[in-house]
Amino acid sequence: MEYEAVIGLEVHAQLATESKIFSSSSTKFGSPPNSQVNPVCLGMPGVLPVFNERVLEYAIKAGLATNCEIAGKSRFARKNYFYPDLPKGYQISQYDEPLCLRGHLEIDSGDGKKKIRITRIHLEEDAGKLVHEYSDFESHVDLNRAGVPLVEIVSEPDISTAEEAVEYVKKLRTILKYIEVCDGNMEEGSLRCDANVSVRPVGQSELGTKTEIKNLNSFRFIQRAIEYETKRQEAVLRGGGKVVQETRLFDSQKGVTFAMRSKEEAHDYRYFPDPDLLPVVVEEDCLEKIRLSLPELPEEKLSRFADEFNIPKNDAETLSSSRPLAEYFEECAKHAKDSKAASNWILNEMLREVEDEDSIAEFPVKPEDLAELLNLIGEGKINRKTAKEIFSEMISGGKRAGEIVTEKGLTQITDEDEISSIIEKIIEENQKEVERYRNGDTKLLGFFVGQVMKATKGKADPAVVNQMLRKSLEER
């Protein structure tokens, strides 16, 4: 019997605000323990939470960018449980009245585009951090993260493979970074994911029993954990066993998932509307303002790039995959006479010089300066090889292409008379090779080209040299 996996994801994304969702403490990552805590995030008696307006704006943006409906009225609820990372004894979340509903994303799957539906996006506060390594008897609690704003993005179980799951999270991350509501840093936990996984025989319509794998914080872990869990459940079913509904964790060292031991009763969170917080009302004009402030999204950019700049779809896709890269390209293409050349240079020469997409904005060669370099190639003033040298110099020295060319006398020799006299000289000096060439050893052409390029310090246009050499060698 063949089995198939059914996967739904819950992605937690930290909203990139300065202060927390209900208190004015900073959300900065990596500060000394308990230095970013206020009475509200500590759960002190008698304090009241006050909602951060930017959290709402960012969450609405996330909803709009993922094709969700935004609820005119949503509500905060208390999710009650005891754990030392949760000082109040409840997490403020949204339950039956979330902010965003019924969205979707399109991903590339093995066989074309696939629509993954998004059930809901709701707001919640993060919990604190527990450190277990400092002592054998105690856990250490840092509440800097308690109260940091999160959105939880819940997908429908529309995902069928580990690859699709990774594609979906990548897509989501790109969008959230694009609209600048989440920095997408998975190592720091700004984006993490729980996977609900079940398997069933192909053709069966009802779902199998699912397990939930918690806290996957890299694309690789998402992939490996889901692959492992799918195989594990399949083996259980094939052996005539039953999958137990439970929460599991992924051990990245061993590459396996394992059941979380939990002394808790079966989870009973006793959600109820938070009496400290009033309903969140989103007026139509406010929604419209946010809608208008959204930047062009990756998919729209992709098709516009392909049309407007006449570049292949694949290149347009890479260029639009990150906002800094897309902006760099567009600025460069605006100044470059040949936008295809700009695309090629950025994809082939520039990307290997940058560490990650976020460093593109600080790349030492500004897009208009790269355009200047490319225009010099286009006009035949320099050849590609020289251009590459100039490019490295622009990166290290911060000078502009034109300056470097003038300073070093790097202008390409296109004057045919000049090249012709150099060729004559080289033919004279290398009679033996000329003889061999004329006797059929035409591979020697490369040798002659090399000699000419050496004599011109690489400044001659290789295409012109090739053509003229062949002519001179063959006509005598």
Partner: protein, 98 residues
């Protein structure tokens, strides 16, 4: 009885509360009375009435996204029963492998 002693004990367990048998009986009776009253309310037809979670017809006020650190780490930890190196400390909790 609208509610069993087991239900009350379970709820108490979730809320980390402990009490003696006499109190348990009292709470079971009182909670049962509350539920009977709720049942009476439930007889009303509320099909077209939006649930009330707030008696005030207000929506949430907002705060600007500005950082304002009101207390020091020392203040934060001052009432803690356990602390070490700027951390709160609690008896070890850890989820590990079976």
């Amino acid at each position: 009885m609208k509610i069993s002693k087991e239900d009350v004990l379970n709820t108490a367990e979730l809320a980390r509360l402990e009490f003696d048998d006499e109190t348990l009986s009292k709470f079971t009776r009182q909670l049962g009375d509350i539920l009977v009253h709720i049942d009476e309310l439930a007889e009303l037809d509320t099909k077209d009435v939006e649930p009330t979670s707030h008696v005030l017809e207000l929506s949430t006020p907002f705060r600007k996204d500005e950082v304002n650190q009101l207390i020091t780490t020392e203040d934060a930890l001052s009432n803690a029963p356990g602390k070490e190196n700027d951390f709160f400390t609690v008896p070890k909790v850890i989820e590990d492998q079976d």
